[in-house]
Amino acid sequence: MITLQHWLILSGMVFTLGLCGVMMRRNVILVMMSIEIMLNAANLALVAFNKHMLPGPDGAVAPDGEVFVFFTIAVAAAEVAVALVIAMLLFRRLDTINVDDVANLRW
């Protein structure tokens, strides 16, 4: 039997994976991909909560979590569009996509 806990542990593991990627990867594209992994971990948690926590008294399941997930995917798509443009401009201007080399905005 797969319970909510299983899904949440999986979601946490995926999230941590993404977080480690964001912190350790130097390539901008890979950092972005890690962020997508974190978003997907959150999506997984939302869907799991919806399935296990939301059934009404008559057993019917309201699709609230799924709706949230659609929002997240839509926002993530828009975010990727912007982020890819930033990455492209970075490469054009600074000739690098290494985040450690892009440290001009400092005190």
Binding site: M23, M24, R26, D100, V102, A103, L105, R106, W107
Partner: protein, 659 residues
């Protein structure tokens, strides 16, 4: 008009008295800056109309025997439980003052046309003069304490503007500042007094009456039951009755009088105010504004009437000022300053008479003094206009060159010295009579001796002035050769004032009309005093005083039988002379206080401001912000991975807190 309808229906006409001069001032400032003739015409038209309107009430007032009055007011400001009114109150007292202010004021307006001939600031002068007339008439017409205070400050402003009329002269600027600041000291007490009086009576005011209304307050204060009632108690043991409260408030209010009417020790501004043009000295600093304090005492006499303590203070300060100023006048050499100290001295007489409950006598002297002192100032202005100096040691023999000025000046001097039958005799002898027979509470050498001595000194210094200016040989031949009689616009007002100085006394001083004058000026509850009768004893008394003073001046400055400079060097006399010519060192004392006390306080405040307010609070805040900013800025490394790390740490910390 019969006694039954003595309170006439309110009318709009008196508002014109008040607001025509304001309108004229505004019109001159807006449209007549470059047209001095138009400016003069506007100002004179406003004053003339005000005089005409005021004069139209004279028959009603005289027929009403002090019962007639005209009153109207509107709510100017209603705030919380208080309503401040703005209105007019025309009764015998204010009508006499109205006629003096607009009548003498109108003549001086005409005189100014000639005196300021060709002066580039003539329009500004007339605008200020009209503003002054508005302010002064507001004091005269006021029906409550707050209106009178507003106009009290407004005359202060117009006086400031006019003293500093020759603004390129540093001494004129200093004099206008001195006048303004000295009056601040007095007005501080005045305001405290007004607030005390208004709050003490506010719960008993009839409905629809403004805060601080004179007539409503007079009715409350005259009630003996109210006087015995405690104003407030402390701890149930220490009780302050309304009577004591009243005299403290009265003494504080008197500070305002001391400032405006230049009574010792707040007199220092008036001699310096002579830096203004001479018509201003005549109008503001001799005839009207400085008399406002005396008028105020008459208007609010109900405050002083129940308390002999307050009356004694008023009488003592008045008597001392009269003597004090007269001694200084004997040693001055500036023609206008001698007249200024003489004004101080005469104002002292009036204030003293108020303190001796002689309200009608004081108002009588105010009226005649306005005539002859304005005349003397206009004469002095005429002389200055001719010889271009204020120093009487540079003059001499001017009677031959300026006969009209000389004769009118001489008549004004005789009137001031109280020679019968000129106007000064009737009013001044009334005051001297009062001081020789004072009420019980004022039996003191200060009251009985000093005024008579002052009268002798008055004759002395005035005739010293006359002999040095108009008689003898010219001491400055160049100035003498260029001296000439002044133009018609200057001479005509002097002649009119001269006629008033001669007959003004009999007009109100003769027993028939004096009764009417007394009836309209004496507030309720003040005992009536003996009118001055022109009997041989009184005349002999007045002439003795005159001959003593004028004779001494004649010996020293007319015939030169004795050398005044040699007398001034005698032991004893020398010290007195130094005391008088240095104005009793009062100005030096104030100078010392400002230099050593006020400056040190100011220095302490400056240090506090510099080190505590600016150093700790202002710069300290800035420094702390900058330092903490510099510290935190170190974390802005530009490394995205470091930010992520910090972000994670922050979220972890928040989670740790929340769980």
């Amino acid at each position: 008009m019969t006694m039954s309808d003595s309170h006439a229906a309110p009318s709009l006409l008196p508002w014109l008295i008040l607001f025509l001069p304001l309108l004229s001032s505004a019109l001159i400032a807006l449209f007549a800056q470059k047209r001095p003739a138009l400016a003069a015409a506007l100002a004179i038209a406003a004053v003339g109309s005000a005089f005409g309107i005021a004069a139209s009430y004279l028959p009603s007032v005289l027929a009403g025997k002090g019962e007639w009055s005209l009153h109207d007011s509107f709510t100017w400001l209603a705030a919380g439980g208080f309503s401040f009114h703005y209105g007019y109150l025309i009764d015998g007292l204010s009508l006499i003052m109205l006629l003096v202010v607009t009548g003498v004021g109108g003549l001086i307006h005409v005189y100014s046309i000639g005196y300021l001939h060709g002066d580039p600031g003539k329009s500004r002068f007339f605008a200020c003069l009209s503003l002054f007339m508005f302010s002064m008439l507001g004091i005269v017409l006021a029906d409550n304490f707050f209106q009178i205070f507003i106009h009290w400050e407004l005359v202060g402003v117009s006086s400031y503007l006019l003293i500093g009329y020759y603004w390129r002269k540093p001494s004129a600027n200093e004099a206008s500042n001195k006048a303004f600041l000295t009056n601040r000291v007095g007005d501080f007490g005045f305001m405290l007094g007004i607030l005390m009086l208004a709050f003490a009576t506010k719960d008993l005011l009839p409905a629809g009456t403004g805060f601080g209304d004179f007539r409503a307050m007079a009715a409350i204060v005259s009630d003996p039951a109210w006087l015995a009632h405690p104003a407030f108690t402390v701890g149930g043991r220490w009780v302050l009755t309304n009577e004591a409260f009243l005299w403290i408030a009265g003494a504080l209010t008197f500070m305002g009088v001391m400032g405006k009417s230049a009574q010792f020790p707040l007199h220092v501004w008036l001699p310096d105010a002579m830096e203004g043009p001479t018509p201003v000295s005549a109008l503001i600093h001799a005839a009207t504004m400085v008399a406002a304090g005396v008028f105020l005492l008459a208007r609010i006499f109900f405050v002083y009437l129940p308390s002999e303590t307050a009356l004694s203070i008023v009488a003592g300060i008045g008597a001392f000022t009269a003597f004090f100023a007269a001694t200084i006048a004997t040693t001055q050499n500036d023609i206008k300053r001698i007249l200024a100290f003489s004004t101080l001295s005469q104002l002292g007489y009036m204030v003293m008479a108020m303190g001796l409950r002689g309200v009608d006598v004081a108002m009588f002297h105010l009226t005649t003094h306005a005539f002859f002192k304005a005349l003397l100032f206009l004469g002095a202005g005429s002389v200055i206009h001719a010889v271009h100096t204020n120093d009487i040691r540079q003059m001499g023999g001017l009677l031959r060159k300026m006969p009209v000025t000389g004769v009118t000046f001489l008549i004004g001097t005789l009137a001031l010295c109280g020679v019968p039958p000129l106007s000064g005799f009737w009013s001044k002898d009334g005051i001297l009579h009062l001081s020789l027979h004072p009420p019980e509470y004022a039996h003191s050498w200060l009251i009985t001796l000093l005024p008579t001595l002052t009268a002798v000194l008055t004759s002395y210094y005035m005739f010293r002035l006359v002999f040095l200016t108009f008689f003898g040989q010219p001491r400055d031949q160049h100035a003498y050769d260029h001296a000439h009689e002044s133009p018609f616009t200057m001479v005509a007002p002097m002649v009119v004032l001269c006629v008033l100085a001669i007959v003004g006394g009999q007009l109100v001083g003769s027993p028939a009309t004096l009764e009417a004058f007394r009836a309209v000026t004496r507030p309720a509850g003040v005992p009536e005093f003996e009118p001055v009768h022109a009997d041989p004893a009184t005349i002999r008394h007045a002439l003795t005083i005159f001959v003593l003073g004028a004779g001494a001046a004649w010996l020293a400055f007319g015939r030169r039988l004795v050398n005044p400079d040699a007398i001034a060097k005698l032991p004893g006399v020398r010290q007195l002379h130094a005391l008088f010519s240095n104005r009793w060192y009062v100005d030096d004392l104030y100078d010392w206080i400002v230099r050593n006390v006020q400056q040190n306080v100011a220095r302490g405040c400056d240090l506090f401001d510099r080190w505590v307010v600016i150093g700790v609070f202002v710069n300290g805040t800035a420094w702390t912000t900058r330092a903490s900013g510099a510290l935190i800025a170190r974390y802005q490394t530009g490394s995205v991975r470091a930010y992520t790390m910090l972000f994670l740490a922050g979220v972890a910390a928040l989670l740790a807190l929340a769980l």
